[in-house]
Assembly symmetry: D2
Homo-oligomer: 409 residues x 4
């Protein structure tokens, strides 16, 4: 169980670290400050495009691209463990994941197309996604149902000749606000008889198909996350060719299990990067400010806060690497409980450390002066995205109890 | 130690509850949705003025006004314990505290003027504040210093003939964004020799005095809290008459101790209201949604989450009432450790319960669909405002240890 | 809601405090060191009898006796709120509760006899118990069943002419090891048809009745708590007259609800005393020892630990007083959720503070050098006795949710 | 960074697991029940000797012996990472560590002799210790000083001709109660001038040397841990030859750093075994008992408790393996912060899970019915032994902050 950095990874890691630190982070705030200047918050300004496409071009040119696609000829050839070290670095910057074409939800969507798509689907959508030419969204959650239990998903998808007709609403369609977003993968209920986990399907719906109406941007603690956006979208008699179905009717859960594993762990890897950055800012602030004649570091429980943060990061990173290693072994079912574990542990850890860093910064911490508040809001979504904590704990517990049972509890 | 609701309070409490629930809460979201429609986010739209002044007129007419001013002929005649029950209700609505002329930072500022102001200062500023005609700000925190130790405050205030000249910067000047804000109380360093706690003063500076420059609005997790606003303000050779000084040179800390006690506890009282609202929303959601064939309430640790929330609220409310009762006994020094206790306990408790409520709501919880995210951001500031948690814990600990010492530790 | 110390209580409280501090605590360790010296650990040595009966005689003589019996002509005339202040002081000593005839399980058992006993039962058992001449035990928990759900209780009790015949096993029969224990109140299953909560009864069984066999002493983290003892007892065809039944067949739960309320809260009151003592010891130690050139108090998170302990104690005491006040209002059903709340909150708080005090003492803390380890073991049992935490949280949650439902969840 | 089980370890691990489960655990309780039957609790009964020596003989015969001695010709040839997997299994049984000659404090003492002893010292003491013929104790902590700062250690050691004369007291001398304990390694203060960390020395004192007086057994939550024992020992003019000094005057801290690293991590490895056993017992109980018509597993927060336990174990084990791996790299200074991290994390994690297991078992959990209470008491000592948590957190924090400083904070 080799969890360390491999020799072949070291130069790549160094290149990614350097580019994140020296070229991407310095442009993060400028990019964000441009939001809204083009009139709509969901239109890119010329400067935003220049920043983002400029960085992407550099990354592509240097071969720092599509690291996430493991175990595939199309990919970079890294293991998931190796990718974890890179993703952590990307977590320290707002833009970095996209710069290296490693950002959600595209990676998950590309994963679906790579594994389950037809050749035609790959040609149409996977190719430009891998090239970073378009972006995509994944439409799962619905406003009317508890999505902790995905069998609740109810968007109707009925066959009509050689088309499917979709009706219903989705929200938290992350990335669907981006004008470059061209394709949606949509989880729908197809009217099949049968088992609870065989009634749903996944289907490709191009953005802008007639009947698709973007109602509003959902806000994350007041932040619309433009121009990415988490959109609330209505489907009114949206027609797509039957060829747009992925894998087959009733196979939605089969796909979502394949899709969500990597996606979940990528979020966790980046959350560890957030936590490292927060701890660095916390330590620096604790040494830079004084009160009662001492450095803040030397006051109150601050030694303990710092030590606990370091311990939490180390333990969580190791768990994340172990979960990545399990995925690399090729048995998705065996890896699943490990992904559930890290899915609970990593965001919680990162939120705690970011919050301590906020507190150490006083008023600056909650404000636009540091990236901490923005990071906190982002990580807070991860306790809900791709399954709330409670559902993942439930999975871990049932797996644990099954060791002592013949059946499931 | 009577901590219950008094007979005379009951009808007032009922009137406040009814008005909050039936007349104010229904307008909260509309008021907020108007922000920015007048061009600037810090200008009121006609509709905003209509909503706010309409509600204020009703409250004033019904005699539901200035409850916070305890132990004064100018006030309503309530004890702090009695006020606590009302403030809790106001905490459930965005607008309510202001509607009853009980909102921060005005209450604290009026407290200062009431206790320490000259007759002329009272006539000029206390009178219109008590009437709800103008608003005010309190300028303490500075961007360059750790304000956990207020002796760090460095804004220069030098006498020049019959004027003082102020130079420096303040930030987190809450309410200074409001166009109705007409007066600032400013904590400054006067160039006195002497003890550490006798080098600061408080001085009145009318908004718009030449040399006062509002640089920007500080954001709370991305929210500028317009039109209230937490402003970053520069003072460049700002001249005010010497009569604007409050109480005398070097007496700033004496005033701030008097000011901050009530202000701190009022925040806590409202935080308990936030928590009650969050628990109500949590419970209702847990009964309204289903997953895995059960109501959410019946799943996972939700019974425990609900029970712990109820227990935390009850214990915190009792501690808040006890602190209020201590204040009512008239010995501010004896009450101080109690206020420090509740200042730590109440925001922490409210944040935890709001966060659980967010989690129970899934995507809706972090979004604009509920008041939860907004409440969380507001309460998060309370762990820093008027002294960060660590400073209050320090006070409580030193008080505790002093029982076993002749001197202080 | 008067939660403070009443005027009439003050002299009584002062007398109890003085006697606990000056006369009882100084004998605690000597009493405990005698255990086992009489051959059996469950036989009193002459010195133990001298200590205990000597103190009891003094307390009785001074009228410091039976404070716990509220709302009864036989009692002292205190309210439950008033008693709370006294019980807290008793919690600081191993022997004190018994010295004032206020110790478990006798108080609960006397409560049952006082409220539900026949005149003959009162004459036979209540009278000598109130006089402190005998002691008693309450036999509820059984080794074979999860006693978190008391409807699981299965000890058989079948009528045979004018006797009942009991068969089964009980354990954790606290106090049954004491040679002065003369009477058991036993929860049994009577073979009634009907509702789940109407199938159990309570019956009086004199210690030493043929067929009663004390199998062993249960240990609490290795401690048999002799000579009190938590005994494991077998009943083999134990015959008692039908007149020994309390209240009637099928009314066991009705009685247990009446019994357990006061018993639960008394434990909590004393747990607060434990916590106060632990915090005192913690503070003193933190000032007495040095490391790295500083008093321990000034190192690490110790200020925070002390402050949090103080806050936790204050909040928990207030909740306990509120629960006591609810009981004093006379509506047991309304008071029940408050008792469940404090039953969870008080032991948890005390355990945490005792554990911090242990840690502050280093090796001394876990050893026989301080009362801390013994106190911890005792309080740990309270998270199980009279219902485990989870059951009480369940009650609180169901009560909370019922506000939003027509029925129960 | 290979943290997995190596191929060569697998058969050894299987042999150890099988022997622990099938041959050692079944004798644990019988061994413990014999304590005290020989008159003194610190004398072995014939049956105890038979059990222990019988098992040791088997282990030695099978070559399952001295696994702990890594990086030495005398040892088994395992890495620390490999040993961690074995030590974890030993943690599940009371006797196992000693059976494989891998128990504290002998392993640490042998480590000292192996690394720093003269040939004569090795011949006299290391040889019989490696053979399992005698046992040893390590005398560091003193009753009069805060041992969180080991520079406080004050036992006097003055040269007198070719002897040293020792005076003072030690306590918590673990293993010194064992009649087979023949040698003490004692930390003393030699009267050298110079730096704070160069004033102490380590010296060998044979048990029974005139002037050595064992005063009493310290109790751990009431448990004397006989016949091992944590003894309080007085030294009155104890004379030992100068050749008994280890390494040289003033080099005590140099040795203790070398000694404590492995010792600390071994405790942690076994604590993980405790936690695994506790979780197993918890799960089994949760499936075996019912309340309110359901298995306990399905009630309340039990799924969450189980899931969190599994996550905590996994993260802590990985951190322990990483710390072991750091030790295997050969740079003790670099490994030190990792050992501090696991020293805090592992006992805390194990205590929490054991406590949850206790709670799930109800009355049985706190009693002699399960090994849980005994395990809890043992693990609780680990938060103090070899440095209290606070000191280790301090080390971790200072290391973290030093990344942003030129010097130390």
């Amino acid at each position: 169980m080799a969890l360390g950095m491999t020799e072949r990874l070291k130069p790549i890691h160094a290149a990614v670290c350097a580019m994140v630190r020296d070229e991407i982070i310095p442009l993060d705030e400028e990019f964000l400050s441009e939001v809204g200047k083009a009139g709509s918050r969901f239109v890119y300004t010329a400067r935003q495009t220049e920043i983002l496409e400029g960085l992407k071009a550099k990354a592509r040119e240097r071969g720092l691209w599509n690291f996430w696609l493991t175990h595939s000829d199309r990919g970079y050839g890294l293991s998931t463990v190796e990718y974890a070290y890179l993703a952590e670095e990307m977590g320290k910057s707002h833009l970095a994941a996209e710069v290296f074409n490693c950002s959600a939800p595209d990676t998950g969507n590309m994963e679906v197309l790579e594994r389950y798509g037809t050749e035609a689907q790959k040609e149409a959508w996977l190719k430009p996604l891998l090239a970073g030419e378009i972006r995509s969204a994944y439409l799962m959650t619905e406003p009317g149902e508890a999505s902790s239990d995905a069998t609740n998903i109810s968007m109707s998808c009925v066959r009509d000749g050689d088309h499917y007709v979709l009706n219903g609403e989705k929200w938290w369609s992350s990335g669907a606000g981006d004008p470059r977003c061209k394709i949606y993968i949509v989880m729908v209920r197809t009217p099949t008889e049968g088992k609870k986990h065989e009634q749903h399907s996944m289907i490709l719906v191009p953005a802008g198909t007639p009947g698709v109406e973007v109602l509003r941007a959902m806000e994350v603690y007041g932040d619309d996350d433009a121009p990415h956006g988490h959109m609330h979208i209505a489907f009114n008699n949206v027609r797509v060719p039957v060829d747009n179905l992925i894998l087959g009717e009733g196979r939605g859960f089969e796909i979502s299990q394949g899709r969500l594993g990597p996606g979940r762990i990528h979020h966790c890897m980046r959350a560890i990067g957030h936590a490292e950055l927060a701890l660095e800012l916390l330590c620096k602030r604790s040494l830079a400010r004084e009160a009662f004649g001492k450095k803040l570091a030397q006051l109150g429980a601050n030694f303990d806060i710092i030590a606990e943060a370091r311990m939490d990061i180390e333990m969580t990173r190791l768990l994340c690497l172990k979960a990545a290693w399990m995925m690399d072994q090729g048995d998705a079912k065996a890896a699943a409980p490990w992904i559930s574990q890290i899915k609970v542990a990593a965001p919680r850890m990162a939120l705690k450390i970011i919050d301590e860093a906020v507190q150490m910064h006083g008023g600056a911490g909650i404000s636009q002066e540091t990236p901490l508040a923005r990071m906190w809001k982002h990580v807070r979504t991860l306790r809900l995205a791709d399954g709330p904590d409670a559902v993942h704990r439930r999975q871990v517990a049932r797996q644990e109890l099954s060791r002592y049972l013949n059946g499931k509890v």
